[in-house]
Symmetry: C2
Subunit: 378 residues, 2 copies
């Protein structure tokens, strides 16, 4: 099935494949602009990339952000966002948005949710109120939000899960994917399928066959980075990614560290999201070209050098480590702002470097350089 | 004594006096730029106007900010700021800064401080460590910070205080002012004297005579807005301000509400500072041209109109009340950012309107309009 059958505004061009790895250079076209891949999507859970005005997010080079269906459904409510004119207008971000389906958040609720064939009953983490989300409702919410890329509602298979559970879970996710595909009304929004299957290669393979058989605008690997060993995650991504259609974007959900991103780009992944840069920023853990910096460390008390001498971000251009440490220790809101600016820029810049390396056909060499950079400090 | 004797870079020009009141239009010149008066100085207690990058503060029209000697002395320490190149460089604000002397903060410590002729022994509110600030030390700290306007170290006379206490307190503040004047080394920094005297008109008059007799670049009324009735505050300001030299800026410390500012400009005050716009912003209390808005109110849930239809700030230009309510209820950091932007703009704009009214010689009429605006909502 061609993407035109699903969404006439959405397109993916595979521009180049790296000679030394499975890394790929591509471009996603949406009605709200282009996205160069491999791409990292900063997280805007509650209709804001925490601490940043959207113009700043854009200035940092982000071309697409992720927002969360579960959170926005509960608060402020998707109908309110629809009434205000959709999520883009609501949050003042006129560039592409991908919304997850709520599957992962509902899964994270643990004892507060009950999964049946029909969908998931769950209690709000905010006020304990009871709610029900089915594949059809997840699509309806995402259509109310008006995101550019919607995700199918899936069951995020937990880790550990035995083979039988993982198989049943995968089968239901496949049936739910069909229901999502049928429920979709708005042809201006792309829809991605999600491949589950736990850490079982055979299940992942079956997931790919079934989900690609239904036909979506892009494909995601879900249920990873949920507690399994890093090696298991990488093995599954390495084994599963090449099975996905070459002409559609491939999205590894919820990953991850700079190391994981660099590794998984080498397996052929095009899209990533993770709370790490933004959450770590708020915790004072900053990524730099010389390794991680824990900014509250006393050694930065009197340090007038920039956080990262190679970084071109607003924070690094205008402030000293001593100032950043002061703001963090004094619990100033501006600490969150400046630290988030830097960490998002670090991730966006990492993706720019990754794309440059693929263009120059030396991805494997770049990986080595980067991994040694990441080891420098600590 | 002429200002040239004290600081060759600092100058105040009285441009115009209103015909209908004692309101004055003026301009302060400093080595870091001009300040149009009457002016409101946003508070940057810990070397940041909370939640805002300094470029934003400037864009909102702020020409000078206030920072706190007591806080910066304790954290990160004035020597660190001196080493980094001074407060302006430390916080990336290349425009005028006024630093208070720490007198008011030390006074706020209550039982944690002991006042003697020599100075004040106090315990840090952060870690309980013991410290001593004298007039000489207060000047030394402010010289390390490198502010454009320093304040004399004073005893903020509490309210209530009987006449004898208020008199003793005033006398010590006068002796301390002489010591501050003698301690001052850096001719690039202006120094303002502070008139105390509680709610006693006679003491205030004596304070003015003694402090202006010593000779400073500007004069402040201190010890107001510390719990006394609003009427007492206004009476003292109305009675004392005209006694101050016409050719020096007059600063009413820690005031206040829009109503108080408008009133006290009419008494001849040129400079104000207050945490109200920034603190209220973080508490979701927003000033608008239609009165106060408590943004968490359910009536704004679905309100797609801007916070203040007459406001030109970034927040009002780009976001709905529904979005601002959502951010506030969801405890998002961006709520602090957007609300602070608006409230600071409201105060800066209020001062612009005040200056315009003085220019047009209709300050009394403007006061009526504004007071009726402020009564509209709530």
């Amino acid at each position: 099935m061609k993407h035109e059958d699903i969404n006439s505004d959405f397109k993916f061009n595979l521009l180049k494949k790296d000679k030394s790895s499975n890394a790929r250079l591509g471009k996603i076209f949406t009605q709200r602009g282009e996205v160069n891949t491999p791409v990292f999507m900063p997280t805007g859970t509650q209709a804001t990339v925490k601490a940043l005005v959207p113009e700043r997010v854009r200035e940092l080079g982000a071309e697409i952000i992720l927002s969360n269906t579960y959170h926005l459904y509960l608060r402020p409510g998707h109908e309110i966002i629809r009434n205000i004119g959709g999520l883009h207008k609501f949050m003042n971000w006129d560039h592409p948005i991908l919304t997850d389906s709520g599957g992962f958040q509902v899964y994270s609720l643990g004892a507060l949710r009950k999964i049946t064939e029909e969908g998931v009953m769950f209690q709000s983490h905010i006020d304990g109120s009871k709610h029900f989300i089915s594949p059809e409702i997840a699509i309806e919410i995402q259509e109310a939000l008006g995101s550019d890329i919607m995700m199918c509602f899936d069951e995020c298979t937990p880790y550990p899960a035995d083979f039988d559970y993982a198989k049943k879970s995968l089968d239901m996710t496949i049936r739910w994917a069909r229901r999502c595909r049928s429920a979709k009304k708005n042809s201006n929004q792309a829809l991605f399928g999600i491949v589950q299957g736990g850490v079982y290669t055979d299940l992942r393979k079956r997931g790919v066959e079934e989900i690609t058989g239904i036909g979506f605008d892009g494909y995601a690997l879900g249920g990873l980075s949920v507690g399994e060993p890093k090696e298991a995650m990488r093995e599954i991504v390495e084994g599963t990614t090449p099975l996905l259609p070459e002409d559609k974007p491939r999205y590894l959900m919820g990953v991850g560290t700079p190391e994981d991103i660099v590794e998984c780009v080498g397996y052929g992944i095009d899209m990533f999201d993770c709370v790490m840069p933004t959450r770590n920023a708020r915790n004072g853990m900053l990524f730099t070209n010389e390794g991680k910096v824990v900014i509250k460390n006393a050694r930065y008390r009197n340090d007038d050098s920039p956080l990262d001498s190679l970084c071109d971000c607003y924070t690094c251009k205008n402030y000293s480590r001593a100032y950043l440490r002061h703001l963090f220790v004094a619990k100033e809101i501006l600490a969150n702002v400046l630290n988030t600016i830097h960490n998002v820029r670090y991730y966006v810049n990492l993706m720019e470097r990754i794309r440059e390396a693929i263009k120059s056909d030396n991805y494997e060499a770049f990986k080595k350089t980067l991994n040694s950079e990441l080891r420098t400090r600590n």
